[in-house]
Amino acid sequence: MTAPAQTDLVTVVIDGKEIAVPKGTNIIEAASRLGIEIPHYCYHPKLSVVGNCRMCLVEMGMPMIDRGSGKPILDDHGGQKIGWMPRPAIACATAAVPGMQIRTTTELVKQCREGVMEFLLVNHPLDCPICDQAGECRLQEFATDYGRGYSRFIEEKNVKPKRTRLGPRVMLDDERCILCSRCIRFCQEVPKDDVLGFVDRGSYSTLTCYPGKQLENNYSLNTVDICPVGALTSTDFRFKMRVWFLKQTPSIDTESSVGANTFVWAREGKIYRITPRRNDAVNDTWMADSGRELYQQVEAEDRLNACHASGKPVPAPEALQAAVALLKEGKTAIVGSARASLEEQFLLKKVARAAGGAPVHLVAHTGEGDGLLVSADRTPNLRGALLTGLIDTLPPASLEALGAAIDAGEVQTLVVVREDLLAAGLTEAQLERVRIIHLDTHRRPGLERAAVVLAGLTVFEKAGSFVNQQFRVQKFQKAVPGPGGAAEDLFLLATLAAELGGESMPSTPASVWQAMAAEIAAFRGMTFAGIPDDGVVVEAGRLAELPFVEGESLHYKPAAEAAGV
């Protein structure tokens, strides 16, 4: 880990409290460090500042200086006199400068907030009972905290389009829109897909999509996240669940090696949505739409709900016994996975060693990177496989070497973790020649051929950690329980290793981390509980110089020339 760069600090006084912040920090951020909330709608820490909502108006003053002499003007108590600006200033566009004074609790500020709240509500439909945003709506929250609490508006409200499909995943209700322009700026500045804009003017201004285009880029749902009101809603989540019933669990997006931080929102064992979790070093406050759909795998049609042995569903211990019996016959090879967690990879390595030093094969999964939060490496944990020593070189695109070994009769039993062997380049004939122990979460082509099927858990049903493209260890927690017939992957692997090797194996993330910290230099001194919410970058040594396939992404620059790109 490297120390944060030294920056110039400036001291400002907010409501009488001093705070030192880096030069250029705006007053909303400076105040939040003091625990002072300055309400805002249009300001978003990761977007440009436009200052249009006027909710963050505060009083601002500067130490007075005599223009003639350049000397400070002092007040009666000998302190420097503060020249308060006659007009309120927007905190979002006001950068901290030395000596600046801010007041957020005065009568003027109170009136400003009441005024803006009233204005925002006069043409708002107030349809909270049927609005998805209710419960996480800034309009509701600030109306309660800073509004007057009653309405003086007796005129007819403006009428605007209520149900506009902006794209496949986003629905727009223009009457609820407060015209903060966050969604427009997001589309311009992050995915660089400038399709949203306002038409008409004044109070009749209407958010709309460019004629003939759609909001269909892979980041479109971020507009729903940043919409402070219920104007933009997700077509997937819409009308499904009240947000106050949902429990948030921190997790990681597994669709690529970026490892965007997420929250999984669930109630009573069912996941309703996935949203990004802020991590300024990885995904800022964004995530791809594709990663949000991954929760659907939990209840997918092809989900493995039970372990199998000889084609029949059996309890996990029975399946494990069958697997151990096969493994004891020797001539084992292993197909590992960069989709497995760090802890699972560590235990799989133990299985390989206990099975007489079985060779471990891994296959690469690549796609096109989008330069943002979906990278070319479509597995979440390739770096983990390298760090745990499961593999020591970058994986090839197919299992050709394993195929050759099977053809040469060197392999009798194959342990497969989360891999489609046919898609990875093995032939039907090759599969006929081996007995397969397959650990997976979903049915795959050819799975019926497996001698033993071990049903594991998806990322949402267990805890663990991944190492992303920056060699940042990030953990995920269990959001929902898995299917009754499935077992913890760690338990399955630990049992295999223990039964084969004759020594006991750790089978929880915390205990596996104890073993990893003892054995692996990069993890020395670390514990599972000690991994911070935003992850921790570990020393990768020579591994960092491998020619990984990823190009640049939001917060990642490749160290070495990528292979074949």
Binding site: G115, L120, V122, R201
Partner: protein
């Protein structure tokens, strides 16, 4: 004794035989001042403009010399000059006269100003409703180019400058300088936040930019002609030069008149210059600087102190028509649009009319102005349609108070000042209206007829 007009800008306008082509302009000594100016150092010209004290004629009355001084010359970025010809303030019609009848005066003013601030490119942003004006300017620029008055190496001075005419699409907000710049860049004319986007530093294409009104740029020509100090002798200290007043409303001879600043009072303007009110009518109110200026009510007394320390005690008709005096009485000289109302005027309807304009023209970017302007319009429209309530009077005032001073641009003040001043000064009339309507409602027993 009737006051004499001092025609500086309008010297030739409406003169018999004066046409808007280059030949005519040259016959009347045109472009001689430009010829003289390009021989001088640019800094000297800026110094003359500073000394002249000429204030912006667009509305805010900011000294032109200061505006130019603030231009960021250290950045090394090109400097742009924009001529704001988006004359949109209701009650104002002076720039159109200049553009239509003496376009070369404006172009000479622009060329001199460009040379003074060393701008290589100038834009004339003309409002969409002036198609003829745009055509005239295009032609005038071509004429000037043909005589090497504009374009490369003008008059052999080694200095090159291009002028482009850009037509707006018909939005009041494009008269706000940063809104204008956005529009010129091809975007929605959403005014920019200041700080950081002061045009003098981060203007057009994020380069230092001077935005001046048509009349102001014409004044620059005369400043350079006469010399700053000489020019400053016209008018009163702090209010130098002449002022074009556009008088509309209930007077016998509405029109445009040019006077030395402070030379005449509002009473003289109405009674001597404009021929007085219609027969049998008495003065009720005057909006002295375009529809956004605060209204002045007949019969009011204004007392206080001027900048120079002298105290004043004026009735409405005693107010001198200059920047500082109008500010001292709580209104502004604005864009020079004087709107006169006699006792036949229904103030509620007059305000409803003004509010309808501002609600229609609010750009919609920031909350208070966007929502407040339409709300005020809805209230005043309802009041003038027979459904006024007593509490509407205070409500109107309070809504306006929630806008002014809290918006991105000066439109917030522009749309709230009329309501604030009407409600304050004609409170009785607003209340009476509500009372009368409540009475009418009770007699027919069914309440007022609802609006469609």
């Amino acid at each position: 004794m009737p006051v004499q007009e001092t025609r500086l800008i309008f010297k030739h306008i409406d003169a018999a035989g004066y046409t808007n082509d280059l030949d005519c302009y040259l016959r009347h000594g045109g472009y001689e001042i430009l010829r003289k100016a390009v021989q001088q150092k640019p800094e000297e010209l800026c110094e003359e403009v500073m000394k002249s004290g000429v204030r912006g004629r667009g509305g805010a009355g900011f000294p032109c010399g200061m505006k130019w001084k603030f231009l960021d010359r250290k950045s090394g970025k090109p400097i742009y000059l924009i001529c704001n010809a988006d004359e949109s303030e209701p009650g104002t019609f002076k720039d159109r006269q200049i553009i239509h009848k003496d376009p070369h005066q404006l172009i000479e003013g622009i060329l001199i100003s460009c040379y003074a601030i060393q701008a290589k490119t100038a834009f004339i942003y003309i409002r969409g409703e002036f198609p003829e004006g745009a055509r005239i300017l295009e032609r005038a620029i071509e004429e000037a180019r043909s005589k090497n008055l504009c374009g490369d190496n003008i008059l052999g001075s080694g200095y090159s400058v291009e002028i482009f005419v850009h037509r707006g699409a018909g939005a009041y907000i494009c008269g706000e300088e940063t809104g204008l710049i956005e529009s010129l860049e091809g975007k929605r004319p959403y005014p920019r936040i200041k700080p950081p986007f002061f045009p003098a530093v981060l203007g057009l294409y994020q380069c230092p930019t001077a935005v001046n009104n048509v009349e102001t740029l014409c004044h620059v020509k005369h400043v350079i002609d006469m010399g700053g100090e000489e020019y400053a002798k016209i008018g009163t200290p702090g209010n130098s030069g002449t002022r074009i007043l556009c008088v509309s409303g209930h007077v016998q001879k509405p029109g445009y008149y040019e006077f030395a600043c402070g030379d005449l009072t509002l009473g003289q303007l109405i009674h001597d210059v404009c021929g007085g009110l219609r027969p049998g009518r008495s003065l009720k109110a005057v909006i002295p600087g375009g529809s956004s200026a605060k209204i002045l009510r007949a019969g009011e007394r204004y007392t206080g102190k001027l900048k120079d320390g002298s105290s004043f005690d004026w009735g409405l008709e005693d107010i001198p028509m200059d920047f500082d005096s109008l500010m001292a009485v709580g209104s502004m000289a604005g864009s020079g649009g004087v709107i006169v109302m006699d006792d036949s005027t229904d103030m509620v309807e007059a305000l409803a009319n003004i509010n309808a304009f501002y609600a229609h023209e609010s750009c919609g970017q920031c909350t208070p102005c966007r929502e407040g302007s339409l709300w005020m319009k809805k209230i005043t429209t309802r009041m003038s349609h027979g459904q006024a309530r007593q509490e509407d009077v205070d409500l109107l005032g309070n809504v306006a108070d929630q806008i002014a001073g809290r918006t991105i641009c000066a439109f917030g003040e522009a749309c709230s000042w009329p309501t604030q001043s009407f409600v304050l000064k004609f409170r009785d009339e607003f209340l009476n209206k509500a009372r009368a309507q409540a009475g009418a409602a009770s007699t027919n027993g069914n309440g007022a007829v609802p609006l469609i």
